[in-house]
Amino acid sequence: MVNRVVVGAHYGLRDWLFQRVTAVVMAIGSVTLAAYLLWQSDMGYDRWTGLFSSQPVRAFALLFLISLFFHAWVGIRDIVMDYVKPAAVRLAIHIVVVLALMMYSIWSVQILWGM
């Protein structure tokens, strides 16, 4: 048998970097929202819809959610890499997770611009 060394999936760095960048986006988003909620004492339905009727808020909320989905993808894939060894099961989980995250992305747009 030929002694092969299977190396070449060079996306380790890219995924790691993605997770860092998306984490920064989510940190900024969370802190900003938390500060806003502390500052605005009475958050009723009108305030919430008023807040999300602004286009920049919607755009940043979408950026936040997409970051969350990418971050979750790398994180879930990492867990699967550690604990799920059979290739078929792993692939099935990958597909389900990716499809679910894609659905969530579409759903997010629908929610944010449908308000």
């Binding site: 190396v7 996306y11 380790g12 760095l13 790691w16 890499m81 550690d82």
Partner: protein, 231 residues
């Protein structure tokens, strides 16, 4: 002093067991290895590795009260009784406190732990400036005892694919060496999702290293170089 020591001979025992030992020893000024040598006189079936008995060879790495360390430089007075001794976690047990380090050394060899330089050898040594030499401090001192790598959960889950902290510290030792010419190949080799990027910076390695080295920092330097190269 009371000891509870992991006993297992895979050839004869169905399962590992913990054996209790009582040893009459003054703990002042003595190391754990001194006690183990006396215990072995009591019961010569107890198996362990040892050699230099001064923290240089790395043979007597074991799990001491739940924490990896070298028996020869662990003062008895620092240990809570009963002292619980187990083999290094995550590696196959050969007997009692002796583990099979094959996988550990396979990963170490995979990072090509030697200088790669294709220039013809000079008449004298390949020289470095003191500043260049300074970069190797904190890297070259590793004694390959395996305390860090076997305390790393990422290595437990993927010992065949994740290089582990000891191997990655050595990878950076050669990347940081100005006399080495294979930096790019070395970075290529570590860029996949497993070999380096299974590290999630939990720093168990830094916590246990008996030589007080910092593999996490070395891994961070490798990531920095990868990013610099990419952008």
């Amino acid at each position: 002093m009371k000891f509870r020591i992991y006993r297992y001979n895979p050839e004869t025992d169905a399962a590992p067991r913990m054996q209790t030992y009582d040893l009459n020893i003054e703990s002042g000024g003595k190391m754990l290895l001194d006690a183990l040598v006396l215990l072995k006189e009591q019961d010569d079936s107890l198996s362990l590795r040892k050699s230099c008995r001064e923290g240089v060879c790395g043979s007597d790495a074991m799990n001491i009260n739940g924490r990896n360390g070298l028996a020869c430089i662990t003062p008895l007075s620092s240990l809570k009784e009963p002292v619980e001794l187990r083999p290094l976690p995550g590696l196959p047990v050969i007997r009692d406190l002796i583990v099979d380090m094959t996988q550990f050394f396979k990963q170490y060899h995979s990072i090509k732990p030697y200088l790669i330089n294709n220039d013809p050898p000079p008449e004298t040594e390949r020289l470095q400036s003191p500043a260049q030499r300074e970069h190797l401090n904190g890297l070259y001192e590793c004694i390959l005892c395996g305390c860090c790598t076997t305390s790393c959960p990422s290595f437990w889950w993927n010992p065949d694919k994740f290089v582990g902290p000891a191997g990655l510290l050595q990878a950076y030792r050669f990347i940081a060496d100005t006399r080495d010419q294979a930096t790019s190949e070395r970075l290529d080799d570590l860029e996949d999702p497993y070999r380096l990027f299974r590290c999630h910076t939990i720093m168990n390695c830094v916590d246990v290293c008996p030589k007080e080295l910092n593999p996490t920092e070395a891994i961070g330097h490798i990531k920095d170089l990868m990013i610099k190269r990419m952008v």
